[in-house]
Structures are given as structure tokens and as C-alpha cells.
């Protein structure tokens, strides 16, 4: 099992401490760790298992079951593109192709230099103003391929 760095261990301890008194708090703890580090360290599994008195397999099962949780460091920029029906009706398929060409990786993958990752998302709740994307945590709706390219270029320069 991979050992955690000091920073990782501190993040896990802080999260466990924060939700010590809350019942069934594995998800809030995982969120707190990921919000802090950007990912959930693989080495965190034993500490989490022991804190919740469940098996390591169960902790691993929870982390890998939910799409939101990740065990690898995120890319510098994350672009999530809605792939659900309401955005399909408003052109998300061609928008996705534009994004893939602009950043140089396929949906669900990241670039070799880990500068960009493209993620499918199934509904951001902006279904009357699609297609919509989330770029580095900020929502954008009524996005055209041209506007998306401009947003990507702006991030490239930052």
C-alpha cells in the first residue's frame, strides 16, 4: 500500500476530525479530502477503514463507485461538458468535438502533460440554456464552439 505524504496524511486527519461526531460520514470525509488535495490519496484507504471500522475493500468500493471521487491528481484545467439529452438537443456533440480538438485529448481523458482534462458530465441543471460546460469550477451556458475555443485559449494564456 502506498504511503501518504505528510500533507496527504494531514488532510485525511483533518477531515476525519471534522466529521468525528457525524453518523455515516464517509462521503463528507471523502469530499473534504478531495476539496483539500484535489484527489483522494490511495494511501488513505487504511486510515479511513480503521476510522469507520469497515474493511479496506469497502472504502475502496465507495471511492471507486462514485464518479466524483478520484485517486489521481487533477489536470491543471478541468473542462466538464454536459452530455445529457437537453444539451444533446442543443448541440453538445459538436461542442465536444470542438473541445477535443482544441485541448488535444478525448472526452474522459487528459493530455499527456496533464494540462487539460475533459470530463463528461450528465446534467448541470442548466437545461433551458444549453449546451453548458463547467470550466475550472465555473459554469457557462449557451456556449457556442467559438466561445468555448475562446475560453480555452484564455486559460492557455493564464
Amino acid at each position: 500500500m502506498t504511503a501518504m505524504t505528510t500533507r496527504e496524511a494531514q488532510a485525511v486527519d483533518a477531515a476525519l476530525d471534522r466529521f468525528r461526531d457525524e453518523q455515516g460520514a464517509l462521503l463528507p470525509v471523502l469530499h473534504a479530502v478531495q476539496d483539500n488535495l484535489g484527489y483522494i490519496p490511495k494511501g488513505a484507504t487504511p486510515a479511513l477503514a480503521s476510522a469507520f471500522n469497515i474493511s479496506r475493500a469497502e472504502v475502496h468500493g465507495v471511492i471507486t463507485y462514485y464518479h466524483h471521487f478520484r485517486q489521481t491528481e487533477p489536470a491543471q484545467h478541468k473542462l466538464a461538458i454536459c452530455q445529457a439529452e437537453a444539451c444533446q438537443a442543443r448541440g453538445c456533440r459538436s461542442l465536444t468535438a470542438t473541445a477535443e480538438a482544441a485541448v488535444g485529448c478525448r472526452l474522459g481523458e487528459h493530455t499527456d502533460d496533464n494540462r487539460w482534462e475533459l470530463e463528461p458530465v450528465y446534467c448541470l441543471g442548466l437545461c433551458a440554456s444549453g449546451p453548458s460546460v463547467e470550466l475550472d469550477g465555473k459554469l457557462y451556458a449557451r456556449i457556442t464552439p467559438e466561445r468555448l475555443e475562446a475560453l480555452i485559449r484564455k486559460k492557455e494564456l493564464s
Binding site: L27, C82, Y122, C123, L124, L126, C127, A128, R142
Partner: protein, 519 residues
């Protein structure tokens, strides 16, 4: 005196630049020496007009939209603060036909008030339902909900009062109220708008439910794709607790109710109530077999009321105005109103709250103004990814649980997604199967395996038109297995979009005649 200006904080407004518009207003007003008091309201739900700026002039709220940050200087020069005319002027927003022709019971305050202002909330009938409930015996509160005819708004349409009655009758030291705010269906955003635009209404509904069934603890399970809703709900719970509307002694009544906001983690199937409960307990979101019902053995094995956001949001009105005032709206066994959500390829997309019985055509054409692209509408998916695709010929159906079920369709959470004539319905059917394969919890075989095989069958059909009749037969057989053999609605309803596409749009599947005539 300063002039009150509203700029929405709803994420559908933020995603099209509402924050930038608000900042430009502050800056440009200051430059001109004008004193404005900026309120960040919820959205009125006229989403094609967002960001929509409103200014209060002579007691009326005059609106302008859609406003881009670069429009702000010109708007102020034209006299926005005096309500003067401009190409973006919409006039008195309360008189706008899109709003005027609605029956807003649940969404009465959304877009009007400052979502986090307790004063605003109470000035608009807020907490009147809770105060009424505190004077009633628990069984009488449940009776009012029963009498209102309120049914679960998550999709299944189960009578809310019966659920509550079961939990009230259950004996346990700890009971729970759980709000299903895992609004994962594409084409729906009403839960999000409630949480971001009128969070105290949901809190009030939860507190009433808690008092009614004897639950002292509540959870709101909100999808992680809604960070703004999570933030607003957390702030609202904190403020409501500090003001004594929640806590150990609600408004001095001696009754206790506390709320915890929980963030989900991106699993669609967690919108299924038992998977949601598993997730709240810190486990994988795997569907439970029923029985036992959550009403008897729900969260942490205790009696639990689990309701959708819109179900609980309807409760304060019912308690404040009486069950009859609510039941007077609607048709048949579908009483009250439903906040419909017009989405996809539609000109005037947004939120339309109407009594049950309105037709899909009225919603899409009268309110929605047809497609955004200007091309003919070809298909409408009602009720999310597990809902049927309806052709034009079925759009005159009244929006009512039973009327839709009779046509193999569902109302679901009230979302309508419009597609124009460029849509490929075989591709939509394939996507439905693919989505099920991505999101299946894996517990039952028809859903876990069936969805993957389903996507493959449709792919083969797309690739080899000559084999279409054989593959279509195989697909129908598979759908039958999924429909009848799945543990929950995920696998059990994925056939709805698939079969409806096949039935109503056979030409997209390289089939000449409607295949169901041959079957």
C-alpha cells in the same frame, strides 16, 4: 434614497454572466453618482431572458433582459434606474404573459425575494405553514397532506400523506426526514431553483414533516453537480437555526428538528430512494430490495420519510392555505400544480408551474414558443432519461400521471426536452442504453448486463440496415427482460425511451412499418 435593483444569483443566471452584470451595475452606478441597493434574487424562471435585471419604480418591478455586462452602461444612460424604455426593456415583469399565465403555488416567491433573507421570506407568507402546523396534532398535519392529494414529485407519484402516515405510526426512538435533491434527470432544474431561490420553503416543509411524523433529524441529499445549491442550503439552514425556526425548541414549541446538508458524489442511481439512503449511510449507492419500505426501515434502519424537493416544498402552502386550496388545482388523481421545466431545443425555456392537466403542446408551443433552432419539433422526451420520447401526434395528452402512463409514458419530475427534426432517434435510443450502462449500480443482472447488450444491439442495427428487423426483435426482447426483471427504475425504465423511439420513429431504425404491429 437608493434604488433597489435585482440581479439573480440562480446558477442559470450566473452561467450566462449575472455576476459580471451585477459588478458592472455597481461600478457604472457609482460612476454616475447613483445610489443603488443591489439584491441578488432567485430566478423568475424565464431563462432565455437571463441575466434579467429588475428595477423597482413606483412599487413595480420593471425588467430588462437578457443583459450582457457590456449593455449596462447603455442601459443606465437610457434611464434604467427610472424604468425608462430600452431595446431590452420587458416592462412590468409581473404582467409578462409567461408568468401571468402560470399558477405559481410552490414557486410563488422564487425570483421575487432575496433567497437568504428571513425577513423577505416571512413578508411573503413564509413560515405561516410551520406556525399552523405547530398548533395541530401530528395526525391532523398528516391528514391535511392526505386531503391535499399531494403525490410524490420525484416521478413515482406515490401519495405523500400515506408515506407520512406509515412513518407516524411506526415506533422508534429516532425517525428521519430525507430530502431527495439528487436531481439527476436531464431537462429538470426545479429542485435546484427551489434550493437556490427559496431555500427556507424546503426547510419549512421538512420541519413540518418532522413535526408531523415525530422525526427530529433531517438530511438534504444534494447532487455534487449543484455546488451553488449546496452553498445556499447550508447558509439557509444555519440562519434558520440561529433564528429559532430549527433547533431543539422550534419557535418555543418544545419541538426539535435539525437539518444536515449532504453532498452527493455523481451517481445518477442515487436518485433512487434506497440507493440514496445507502449513500447517506456512507456506502456505495446500491439499490436495496423492497420490502422493507424506507417508511419502516429507512436511514440507519429507522423509519424515514423520503420525499423529493418539490413534494416537501409544496407542504408549507398546504398547511398555510389549507388542503382544499391546493387540491382545487389539477385533474383526476393528480391534484395541485407541477413546476414543469421546458428544456432542450426550445425558444423560451424555463420554469412553468401549472395545474396538472395542461397539455405538452400548450407548454411547448404557447409558453415555449417552439424550437430554438426554428426547425420543426420532432420529439419531446418527458420525464428525464428514463422517460418516453413522444412524437407530435401525442403532444395533446394532458400532463397527468395516469393519462401519460396509459400511453407508455411517464411524467417523472416534469421535465420536457424538445428535439428538432435533425435528431436521430436510433442514436437517442442507443444513448439511453449507454447511460444506463454507465450509471447502473450493478446489483441486478437485467440492468447491469442488459444495458450494455442493448447499446450493442442498437449499434449493430445502425451499422447494418439489412439486419434491422432481426436486431429490433432482439432489442424488444431485451427491453422486456429489463422492464420486468430489474430491481429499480434504472433498468426497469430505460426501455421507455428505447421502445418509444422504436415505436414512434421506426424510420430512424431502418424499419419501414411500425415494428410493434409485427410483434
Amino acid at each position: 434614497m437608493s434604488i433597489t435593483v435585482y440581479v439573480p444569483r440562480d446558477s442559470a443566471a450566473l452561467a450566462v454572466g449575472a455576476d459580471e452584470v451585477a459588478a458592472a451595475l455597481q461600478e457604472q452606478a457609482a460612476k454616475r453618482g447613483a445610489k443603488i441597493s443591489l439584491v441578488r434574487n432567485g430566478s423568475r424562471g424565464l431563462l432565455w431572458l437571463e441575466p434579467m435585471v429588475e428595477v423597482v419604480v413606483n412599487g413595480k418591478r420593471l425588467a430588462y433582459g437578457p443583459v450582457a455586462p457590456e449593455d449596462v452602461a447603455g442601459l443606465l444612460d437610457a434611464g434604467l434606474l427610472e424604468g425608462k424604455t430600452h431595446r431590452l426593456a420587458l416592462g412590468d415583469i409581473a404582467e409578462h404573459p409567461y408568468l401571468k399565465n402560470q399558477e405559481r403555488l410552490t414557486f410563488a416567491r422564487v425570483g421575487i425575494t432575496d433567497p437568504l433573507s428571513l425577513e423577505d421570506y416571512q413578508a411573503h407568507e413564509g413560515f405561516a405553514g410551520l406556525r399552523a402546523a405547530l398548533k395541530l396534532a401530528p395526525a391532523d398535519i398528516v391528514q391535511q397532506v392526505l386531503d391535499s392529494g399531494l403525490r410524490g414529485r420525484g416521478g413515482a407519484g406515490f401519495p405523500a400523506g400515506i408515506k407520512w402516515k406509515t412513518v407516524l405510526g411506526a415506533q422508534a426512538a429516532q425517525k428521519y426526514i430525507v430530502v431527495n435533491a439528487d436531481e439527476g434527470d436531464s431537462g429538470t432544474f426545479a429542485d435546484r431553483m427551489v434550493m437556490e431561490g427559496d431555500p427556507y420553503m424546503l426547510i419549512e416543509g421538512m420541519a413540518i414533516a418532522g413535526i408531523a411524523v415525530g422525526a427530529t433529524r433531517g438530511y438534504v441529499y444534494i447532487r455534487s453537480e449543484y455546488p451553488d445549491a449546496v452553498e445556499v442550503m447550508e447558509a439557509a439552514v444555519e440562519r434558520a437555526t440561529a433564528a429559532g425556526f430549527l433547533g431543539d425548541n422550534i419557535l418555543g414549541s418544545g419541538k426539535a428538528f435539525r437539518i444536515i446538508v449532504r453532498k452527493a458524489a455523481g451517481s445518477y442511481v442515487c436518485g433512487e430512494e434506497t440507493a440514496l439512503l445507502e449513500s447517506l449511510e456512507g456506502k456505495r449507492g446500491i439499490v436495496r430490495a423492497k420490502p422493507p419500505l424506507p417508511a419502516l426501515a429507512g436511514l440507519f434502519g429507522q423509519p424515514t420519510v423520503i420525499n423529493n424537493v418539490l413534494t416537501l416544498a409544496a407542504v408549507p402552502f398546504i398547511l398555510a392555505r389549507g388542503p382544499k386550496a391546493y387540491a382545487d388545482f389539477g385533474m383526476g388523481r393528480s391534484r395541485g400544480t407541477l413546476p414543469f421545466q421546458l428544456a432542450g431545443n426550445i425558444r423560451h425555456g424555463g420554469l412553468v408551474e401549472k395545474a396538472f392537466g395542461v397539455t405538452a403542446r400548450e407548454l411547448i408551443e404557447t409558453f415555449g414558443g417552439g424550437t430554438e433552432s426554428g426547425r420543426p419539433a420532432r420529439a419531446v422526451q418527458i420525464g428525464g432519461p428514463l422517460g418516453a420520447y413522444l412524437p407530435d401526434s401525442l403532444l395533446d395528452l394532458p400532463m397527468d400521471y395516469e393519462a401519460l402512463a396509459a400511453k407508455g409514458a411517464v411524467l417523472g419530475h416534469g421535465g420536457l426536452v424538445v428535439f428538432d427534426d435533425t435528431v436521430d432517434m436510433a442514436e437517442q435510443a442507443r444513448y439511453a442504453m449507454e447511460f444506463c450502462a454507465i450509471e447502473s449500480c450493478g446489483k441486478c443482472t437485467p440492468c447491469r448486463i442488459g444495458s450494455t447488450r442493448g447499446a450493442e444491439v442498437i449499434q449493430r442495427l445502425q451499422a447494418k440496415p439489412a439486419e434491422a428487423p432481426v436486431q429490433a426483435k432482439l432489442l424488444r426482447d431485451l427491453c422486456d427482460t429489463m422492464l420486468n426483471g430489474s430491481l429499480c427504475a434504472m433498468g426497469g425504465m430505460t426501455p421507455y425511451p428505447v421502445l418509444s423511439a422504436l415505436d414512434h420513429f421506426p424510420e430512424d431504425f431502418h424499419l419501414a412499418a411500425p415494428a410493434h404491429q409485427a410483434a
